[in-house]
Assembly symmetry: C2
Homo-oligomer: 236 residues x 2
DNA sequence: GAGTGGTCTAGACCACGCC
DNA sequence: GCGTGGTCTAGACCACTCG
């Protein structure tokens, strides 16, 4: 039940991804699309604007809209994508190993991250992501138990996000992320195939609901040689 | 000579940054803003939509628009900001040291990065960014000489971007970025205050003009302990 | 039911690129 | 001059929240 401009967005995006509209080639003009999709100019423009924001097309006044080279995917810190959604696009085999899963009283560090009062409870999940047979990423999740009353091993092996959105009906709004490089800990070495590296890439993630409630803190710890972030940016 | 909705965007943004609209508090409704700014609803909505995209406000259907906590700045890989613009917002003292500056024939690596033909020429600039007295970042810039005929030491010490935009009238459209962690090289150790780290954070940047011409490749090499990237992401 | 944001439409005029 | 995208307007209806 997408809105009209979202449908048009997906239709055009599919044509770009399938190569029906080649990279660098010109898209139909707005006037043509009005007829093609039976929509008003504003509706067509909303779809095109979305494509531009997401780095799929470039619009040039007086000339037209042109398809850009699609970003070959990597780890998109820029977006808000779950590991499961990512894994589905990857060719290599991925597995998720649940190492810890329990509901615990939030310690001081977690209370600070999630801005929780004393005696608040959180679900803690520690998971190892295995890619191509190697244990590469250590995910530590902390979820406010007021919003997520129950987690199971099966949910953690599949996708926490999917469970939150489809089963619990939570609406995820946005996330703040922070990437740093730190000294690896004993825990990193214990859970990951770490080889001889002494540093680790830490992606901290604060997830908010649509109503601006902070409900999840995640630390995603990546082996440095396997970390790669690809982004797209527009001027101003 | 900004458009109306950009002006409204800046006006509201200023109120949020000044704290006139506190984090978490409600903004005036669209209907009120129509009167306040003397604009149509659509124009007001364009401004609000921009604020939402950039992580300054959250809009909730049926309730209103609310100011978010402003991201304390760090190194924004997500945006397209020059070091000079960044430095102006920082409290610590910054300096730029130009180590190399010359027009050279592009070698194979650079030709591949910038998709240049043989015998093409590029301007190469190697700069060290000093923050709080320490040499932290090594910037290696390569610019297509067809678009940038002349670079001087003074320009490199100030801001290459500013020169391109104001003096040469080049219109920067977008950039593709890639962040990885690699083994540090001899060059890194030579130019930076590297202490005992053996890895370095590499931010590769491909800058395109508005007409989709790729004209600049930059490698920004950061000491791992000083690297920090902060991002904002919306679901879908 | 009143107030809010979300979608869609139709029409006008402007700025830019190109021949 | 024509076709393109960029801005602005006015009005309609829908979906959601809250009292």
């Amino acid at each position: 039940m997408d809105s009209k401009y979202i449908s048009i967005y997906h239709e055009i995006l599919a044509k770009i991804e399938d190569g029906e509209i080649a990279a660098g080639s010109k898209l139909p003009s707005e006037t043509e699309m009005i007829g093609e999709y039976g929509a008003s100019r504003d509706t067509v423009r909303k779809a095109l604007h979305l494509l531009e924001q997401n780095g799929y097309i470039q619009r040039i006044q007086g000339k037209g809209s042109f398809a850009l080279d699609i970003n070959k995917l990597s780890f998109p810190v820029s977006g808000l994508t779950s590991f499961k959604e990512l894994a589905q696009k990857m060719t290599e085999k991925c597995r998720t190993l649940v190492k810890e899963l329990e509901k615990i009283p939030a310690d001081e560090f977690i209370r600070e991250q999630l801005k929780l009062p004393e005696q608040a409870e959180v679900w803690k999940a520690v998971r190892v992501r295995q890619i191509g047979g190697k244990k590469i990423i250590l995910d530590k999740d902390f979820l406010d138990a007021r919003y997520v009353p129950k987690l199971t091993q099966a949910i953690c092996e599949d996708s926490i996000y999917e469970h939150l959105e489809t089963k619990l009906g939570l609406k995820i709004g946005f996330a703040q992320k922070e990437v740093t490089v730190q000294q690896a800990t004993q825990e990193d070495r214990k859970y990951l195939d770490f080889e001889n590296y002494n540093m680790i890439v830490v992606v901290k993630n604060y997830t908010y609901l649509e109503d601006m409630t902070l409900f999840q803190y995640t630390e995603s710890r990546h082996r440095p040689d396997k970390f790669k972030f690809v982004g797209f940016a527009r001027r101003n």
